[in-house]
Amino acid sequence: MGCDLVRVSAYLDNELSETEREDFETHARECPACAEELQRMRRVIAMSTAYAPPMDLHARVMGRIRQDDVASTRTERMPRRWRVALVAVAASLLAVALGYLWMRGPQQPPSTPMAIHLPQNQEMEQRELAVTPPELAVPDPMKVAQDTQPLEETKPLPFTLAGTVAGGTPTAVLVSTETGKQAVAGIGTEVAPGVFVKEIRQGEVVFDNNGVDQTLTKGAVSTPSAPDMSGVWKVTVKEGGERADEFVAVIKVEGTTITMKPVDEPNAEAVSGTLTGLRFTMARATEVERWDIEGTVAPDGKSMSADAIVTRVDGSEQPTQYTATGEKMDPSALLAAAQREKLKAQIRDEVQAMYPPLKSYAEANNSVMPPSLAALVPDYADEAMYASTPERRITYHAGLSLFDVSLHKEPAYSDTLAVMSQQMLAHEQSLRKAYGRDLPIAPMILEVAYPGEKISATLTVMGGVRVTDESVPSAGPVPQAAQNAMRASDQNNLKQLGLVIKMYQNEHRFECTPPGWLTVYPEYLTDINVLTSPWDEEGTLSYVYFFPARSQNELLEIGAAVSGDPNLVGVDLSTVEIPSAIPKLQSEIPMVADNRDIPGEAEARRNILFLDGHVENMKMEEWETRIAPFIGR
C-alpha cells in the first residue's frame, strides 16, 4: 500500500522536501495506518522533553570563558620594544600636545607644559588637561604646520630613461620605477597624468610635467623628493597578521634625518634614521636588543608602511618580525578632540563637586540620600549647585543610601545598618581590587545632561562619575540583524536580573528585593557583565533599578495605589485573596529599565523588566503613563 512509516518521523521533524511532504500528506489522508502512526509519533514527541539546565549554567559558562580569556591575555606575547602597553589614541591627547612641543624643537622653549608630569592613567590625564591653561594644553597646529617644510611643487617622474632612438619618429624607452615595465613613448605621448613627452634628444628626454619643463637623462634615476613626513602619526603594529600594538608617535624630518618618538614615552630616546626619497630606515639599539626598521612613505606623505626586525643582542631568541602601518593624523581633528576632552574633564569636575554635599547629608541621616535635592539647601549646598538650567538638566534618583543599601524599614533590619554598610564598603573595595577597575555595581543618584554639548554625566552613590560623549558617531548605521541581536541580548540581561531579584526575594526576610547589585554579587548575580547593555562600554551600569530593598507586599501596595483600582487601594494584599489581581499587578510594576533609549531605533524605546519577570520593549510615549507614576515612591 506504499506505506513508508519512516516518513512519518521525517515529516514531523520537518525533514521532507516540499514534494515529499505533499505526497505524504495526500497519502496519510487515505491511509489509516499512516494516520495512526502520525498520532502515535506526535504523542511520543510531546512526551520527550529535555531537562532544563540549572539557572546558573549561563553564568558558569561565561565565567569559565572569561577566565580563559584572562589567562590567555596574560600569556600572549606583546612586542616589547614598540611599546609596553596598548595606547588608546584618545587617551594620549595631552601627550600628543607635549609631542608637538617636542617636534617644534628647542626654538620654542617649553616652559610650563613640560613641567606637567606625564599622566599615569586616563583619569589623571583628564584632570591635568582641565588645570592646564588652554593655550598651553594644545599648541596651535597651524603654527606647527608653518614650522615644517612645504611640499615641492613638481611631482617626481615615476620612471627612468633606458634609451632613445633617433630617426624620423624619435622614440624614448622608459622604465617604470614601480613596476619595472618598459614603455615606448613618442613626442606628445602622455606618460603619466599631466606629463607629456616634449622633446627627444640623444640620451635625453624633455617632459612637460604639468606645465613645467623637466629633463630626464639616460641612466639618471629620478629621485622623488621626500614628502613631508613631519607630524603626528597613528601607528599600528602587527605580528604575523595579528594586531600587536597601536600607538601615537611624532615624526620629525630635518634634511634626510628622520626621528620618531612615541608620544607617551617622552623620556625615551627617539628612534632615528635616514629618509631617502620615499624610503626610510631607522635603527635603535638598547642593551638587550636591536631593532631595524625599513619602510616607505606614500608620495602624499600621509601614510606609510614598514617592516621591523627585532634581534636579541645575546642571540638568545630568534629575531621577531613586525609589520607596521601608519597614518598621519589631522592636526585640526586632534585639536578638536583635545578640546572635547577638556570640556569633558570640566564636566566631570562639575559633577564630582555635586557629591560631597550629598554624602554629608547621608552621613547625617542614617546613610540615606536626601528625598529631593531641595533638601540639601541651604545646610549642605547653595541652590545654584543642583539647579537645572537650559545648559544642563539634572535628574535625581531618590531613595538610595550611601552604601547601596536602603534597608528595609523593619527596625530589626536597620539596627544592622552600620555593620552592613561597613561590610558593603569592604566588599566593594575587594571587588574593585580584584577587577582592577570600577564595577558597574553602584547605582546612580544623579544624571546630568548637557544637551547642547551632547554630553551626559552620571554620579553614583559611591561618588564615581562617568561621562558619556553622545556626539561620538557610531560607525554607520547598525545592520538590522545586529540591532536585533543587541536588543535581544539587552532583554536577556534584564531577564537575568529578574531571576536575580526573584532568587534573592525567595531567600530573604520579608521577601525583600535586593538592596542593590553590590549586595547580590557574586552570590546571586554571578556575571557582572549582565549589568551592561550591549551598546554600552564595558563597566557601565546600563540599568535603572526602581525598587531596591522593598518587600513584595510593599511593591504590591505601590502597584495597587498606582493602579487606582478601588478594590485594591488600602487592602492588605498579603492577607486578602484576590487571585486575579495579584498576577496582573505584578505584571505592571516596573523593576529595572534601560537607563537610556535603545540606540538605532526609529522611535524612542527602552526595555523594561516587570516584577513578574517579563521584559517589554516599550515605546517611550508610554513611559509617562506606565512607568513614571511608580518612580519616586
Binding site: A10, D13, R40, Y51, A52, V61, R64, A485, P534
Partner: protein, 186 residues
C-alpha cells in the same frame, strides 16, 4: 536558519565575545538537554556544556570557525557527544550512572512521571539510535546536523530516529502511558 542567525554566526566566527555570549544563550539549553540525557548526571552535564562552549570559543578566537550556523552547531554537539561518551565511560563502574535530576518545582507530578518513564525507556535503546534520538529531541538538531555529529548517513539518521520513537512508544505503552494502539507497533 534566518538572517539573524547568519549575521550572529559571522560575528561569532570573527571572535566577537558579545555575539558569542548571545550564541551561547541559544545553545546552552539544547546542549545541556543532550548532555544530561547522555550522562544522566547534573554535574557532568554542566561540565560538558562548559567545556564544549569553551572549546568552540577558543576556535572562534583563532578564527577557525566557519560562519555557517549549522556547521558550528554540529561542531558543538560533536564535541559534547565525545565528552559525553568519555564521561559515560569514566563513570561506568564507579557509581550508578543514573542520578535523579533535581525536581523542577513548576512541573506537575504527572509530567515528572512521564519524563522519568521516557528516561528509563530511552536507556533501553541501542546506542546509535539513542544518540540520534537525543540529538533530535533534546539537541533540536536537523537530520543533516545529526548525520554530521554521529558520522552516519542521512538515511541511517532517518531510520534510527523513527525506530527509536517506535520503540519508545511501545515501551511507554508497556509502562501504562497511553501512546496508541499496539497493533502497528514493532
Amino acid at each position: 536558519m534566518d538572517g539573524t542567525d547568519q549575521e550572529l554566526m559571522r560575528a561569532v566566527s570573527r571572535g566577537d565575545p558579545k555575539a558569542f555570549e548571545l550564541w551561547c544563550t541559544k545553545l546552552e539549553r539544547p546542549l545541556y538537554g543532550y548532555a544530561y540525557g547522555m550522562v544522566r548526571n547534573v554535574h557532568d552535564a554542566q561540565d560538558i556544556v562548559q567545556e564544549t562552549l569553551l572549546r568552540v570559543y577558543r576556535l572562534a578566537k583563532e578564527r577557525r570557525l566557519r560562519d555557517d550556523p549549522g556547521s558550528t552547531r554540529s561542531l558543538a554537539f560533536g564535541i559534547a557527544h565525545n565528552l559525553a561518551v568519555d564521561a559515560h565511560r569514566r563513570r561506568r563502574g564507579v557509581q550508578p550512572v543514573s542520578e535523579a535530576h533535581p525536581a523542577e518545582a513548576y512541573r506537575s507530578a504527572e509530567a515528572s512521571l512521564v519524563r522519568e518513564q521516557v528516561e528509563r525507556a530511552v536507556q533501553e535503546l541501542p546506542e546509535k539510535q539513542r544518540a540520534a534520538w537525543m540529538l533530535r529531541s533534546y539537541g533540536e538538531l536537523t537530520y543533516a546536523e545529526i548525520a554530521g555529529v554521529l558520522d552516519i548517513s542521512l538515511d541511517e539518521v532517518k531510520v534510527g530516529i523513527h525506530r527509536a520513537r517506535k520503540r519508545l512508544a511501545t515501551l511507554l505503552d508497556r509502562d501504562g502511558q497511553y501512546v496508541g494502539g499496539r497493533s502497528h507497533g514493532m
